[in-house]
Subunit: 383 residues, 2 copies
C-alpha cells in the first residue's frame, strides 16, 4: 500500500456555537487545515458526521460543505459509523490515497448538537445503539454505559472514586488546549459531588454535548515533503466491529472490536503497545477509557483504571492519554471527535502540544469508538 501522511491540521474550538451553521463550522476547520498544509487543490473531501439529518435536517453534507467551502465539482461523500465516524472518514481518505485515485484528500469531521432540544439530541445519539433491542426498551447511551460500569465494579470490586483520576487528567490537560470546551481543572471532591446521570455514571464520568469541527489534509507520503516541513506518517489504519447491542457480547467487559482494531493497526505499524508514546483514546465515559486501555493491550483485564489511579496517564508518565482534554474535557462533538483525536496526536508528534507536550513523542495512536464498542477505528501515527 502507498503510505499516507498528514500534512495539515485544523480545528475550531469545541463548544456552543449557536451562531454557526454546520457548513460554517466545517469551513473554519477546512480553511485552517488547507492553509496549514499549503495545498491549493485536492482530489476529494470526505466528511464525517452522525446526527445532522436528525438534528439540523441536513443530509448530503458532503456536497453541501464542498460547495460552501468553494470546492464545487470535487468528489465529496459522508462516512458514518456513529461516534467512530471521524476515524472511519480518515480511513476512507487513507484508502483513497493508497489506491492512487487521489494524491491529496481533505477529511473534515463536523457535528452540531446544540441547535435543538436535549431530548432530540439524546434520541439522535441513541440511534447508535440497537433501535429494536436497546433503544425501544428505553436505553440511552448513558444507561448502556452505566450497565457496563456497574458490571465492571461488581466483577472487579472497584469503587466509584477509582474512576475520578480519568476525569481529573482530562480536565487538567484541557486547561492548556485553546480548542477544548472545559478549560478548568477538577478536584476529586468535585468528582464525588457531581450529580448522577445514570448511576454509577456521574456528570464527571460523561463527555458533553457540544458543537465542533476538525480537519486534516492527507497526502501520499512520497509527495508530502513538497508541502509540509513536518509531515506525520500514518503507519497503521484499521477498523473492526463488534455486536451493536451490549447484551449480545460474549463478555460485556471485553471490547473485542477494540482488540481487533488495535491488533490490526499494531501489525501494520510493526509495533507493540509499549511503543506508543501518546494515546488519544475514546473516553466518552470513564468506563470506556478503562476498557479501551485493557483491550488495546495497555493493562490486564480489570486493571485499566489502575493506570489512572497510579498516575500513569499524565502527559509526562508511562501511558499519556487524553493529553488535550479527551472527549471528557476537550468535548465530544460525536461525528467530529475522531478527527480531533488525529489532529491532537499529529500535534504531539510535531511537538506543538504546548504545556501538555509528551516529551520526545515519536509514535502516537488515536482510537475512535462508535456506540458501546460496535465500531472501532484505530490510527497509528509516526514522525
Amino acid at each position: 500500500m502507498r503510505e499516507v501522511s498528514i500534512i495539515g491540521v485544523g480545528q475550531f474550538p469545541v463548544g456552543e456555537h449557536w451562531e454557526k451553521s454546520i457548513r460554517e463550522l466545517a469551513y473554519e476547520a477546512i480553511r485552517d487545515a488547507v492553509a496549514d498544509a499549503g495545498v491549493e487543490n485536492f482530489g476529494a473531501l470526505y466528511i464525517s458526521n452522525m446526527i445532522s439529518g436528525q438534528v439540523t435536517g441536513q443530509m448530503h453534507i458532503g456536497a453541501h460543505i464542498a460547495d460552501f467551502c468553494g470546492y464545487r465539482g470535487i468528489e465529496s461523500h459522508l462516512i458514518e459509523a456513529a461516534c467512530a465516524s471521524g476515524g472511519a472518514a480518515i480511513r476512507a481518505g487513507v484508502l483513497a490515497i493508497a489506491s492512487g485515485a487521489h494524491d491529496v484528500v481533505v477529511v473534515c469531521g463536523v457535528e452540531k448538537m446544540m441547535d435543538t432540544i436535549s431530548d432530540r439530541v439524546l434520541r439522535a445519539l441513541a440511534t447508535a445503539a440497537d433501535a429494536e433491542y436497546e433503544v425501544d426498551q428505553g436505553a440511552t447511551f448513558s444507561a448502556i454505559n452505566a450497565l457496563a460500569m456497574k458490571r465492571y465494579q461488581h466483577e472487579f470490586k472497584v469503587p466509584n472514586d477509582a474512576f475520578a483520576p480519568f476525569s481529573m487528567n482530562a480536565h487538567s490537560n484541557a486547561v492548556h488546549n485553546p480548542n477544548a470546551m472545559f478549560r478548568f481543572p477538577i478536584s476529586k471532591e468535585r468528582y464525588l459531588k457531581a450529580p448522577m446521570v445514570a448511576p454509577p455514571i456521574c456528570v464527571m464520568d460523561s463527555s458533553p454535548i457540544c458543537d465542533g469541527a476538525a480537519a486534516v489534509v492527507l497526502c501520499a507520503s512520497e509527495l508530502a515533503s513538497k508541502y509540509s516541513r513536518k509531515p506525520i506518517r500514518i503507519i497503521g489504519s484499521a477498523s473492526a466491529t463488534d455486536s451493536i447491542a451490549l447484551h449480545d457480547r460474549f463478555d460485556m467487559l471485553e471490547m473485542r472490536g477494540v482488540t481487533l482494531s488495535a491488533q490490526r493497526a499494531y501489525q501494520q505499524a510493526g509495533i507493540k503497545p509499549e511503543d506508543v508514546d501518546v494515546f488519544e483514546l475514546h473516553d466518552a465515559f470513564s468506563i470506556m477509557a478503562t476498557l479501551s486501555l485493557e483491550a488495546s493491550g495497555f493493562a490486564e483485564r480489570g486493571q485499566g483504571y489502575r493506570l489512572a489511579l497510579d498516575g500513569e496517564i499524565a502527559p509526562d508518565k508511562r501511558v499519556p492519554i487524553c493529553t488535550r482534554g479527551g472527549l471528557k474535557a476537550r468535548g465530544h462533538p460525536v461525528g467530529a471527535t475522531g478527527v480531533y483525536q488525529v489532529v491532537e496526536v499529529a500535534q504531539q508528534l510535531r511537538g506543538e502540544a504546548g504545556e501538555t507536550q509528551v516529551a520526545d513523542a515519536k509514535i502516537g495512536m488515536a482510537q475512535n469508538i462508535g456506540g458501546s464498542g460496535a465500531t472501532v477505528v484505530t490510527h497509528i501515527l509516526s514522525v
Copy 2:
C-alpha cells in the same frame, strides 16, 4: 490503480416490506451476493443508506448489519451522499480494494421507506436538498424537480407529453424484471391522465417510495477468476459534486456534476459515450433522465427527451436506458438505488437480463445522482 471486478450480485425485490427490518432486508441481498460470488470471507462490508436515522431510528448500520449477517469483527462503515449513496459506497469498495487494504469487499445498499407516515419520509428525503435555502422555504424534492422541468419546457418549447416515453420505456422493461416494483406497462393515455404531484411533474414522471436492498461482491481483478466464471470489470469509477441548491447553479438546466463525473469515468475507461451499450441512469423524475442524457454526452442541450420520443432508449435501440425498469418502475429505495443500478448493468454484461437483454452488451454505465444533481457517481463496467 489495481483493477476491481464484480464477482457476485444479489438483490431483494423492491416493494413494500412491512414484515422486514432494515437489517433483514440487507441480509437478503448480502446472502445472495455472497452465494453468487462463492466467497467465504471478505475484508470489509460497506453499507449505503440515506434516511434510516430519520425514519427507523437506526444509525450506525454498518456494524448493525455486519453483526446481524454473521460478520461480527469485520470492517464496516456507512457511506452517504443522499440518493447517490449506493454509487458512493461502491466507489468506497473499489478504492479499498485498489489500495491493497482488502482483496474482497461486499457493498450493500439498503433503504426502508415505508415504515412511517409519508410526511416523515418526504421530510427525510428533503434533507438531501439545502435545508436553509430550499427546504425551509417549503420545497420538497418533487417541487425542486418541477422547477427544473418547467424551466426546461419553457426554454426548449417542450410539451408535457414529450416526457411520456421515458416512463413508458421504464414500465415496459420492468414487466420482465422479477425485482421491479411496478411490473405493468403503461400507455401514453395513462401517463396523460396521471394526477399531478407538482406541476408539470405527474405521478408517472416520479419514482416511488419503497423498500429495497441490493449488494455486490467486489474483488481484485487478478483474483476474480478464482471465484467467478463471469467477472465484470470496473473500468471507470468517478464522483463529482455541484451546488446543493438548484438556484445556485450557473445554469439550472446544465448538470455540471453529471458532466464532470461522466467525463472522469470515460477518461479512466478510455471510452466515449457512443461506446456505452447500456446506460442505467438516474430517472428519479423524467426531467432528470433528459438532463442526464444531455450532460453525459448522449444528446445535445435541450435534445435529451428526443432520444425517448424517437424510440432510441429501448433495449434493442441505440441508447438503452432503464433496461430493468429504472428508478421509475424498478423503484427508488433511495440509499440502495445506486447498488441496484450496478447489479443491473452487471446482469446485462453477463447476458442474464432475460427479455430486456441488450444484444452483445460489452460496456455498461451506471450513474447515480444525489439531490437535484449535487452528487453524481458514475461507474463504467466491461466484460
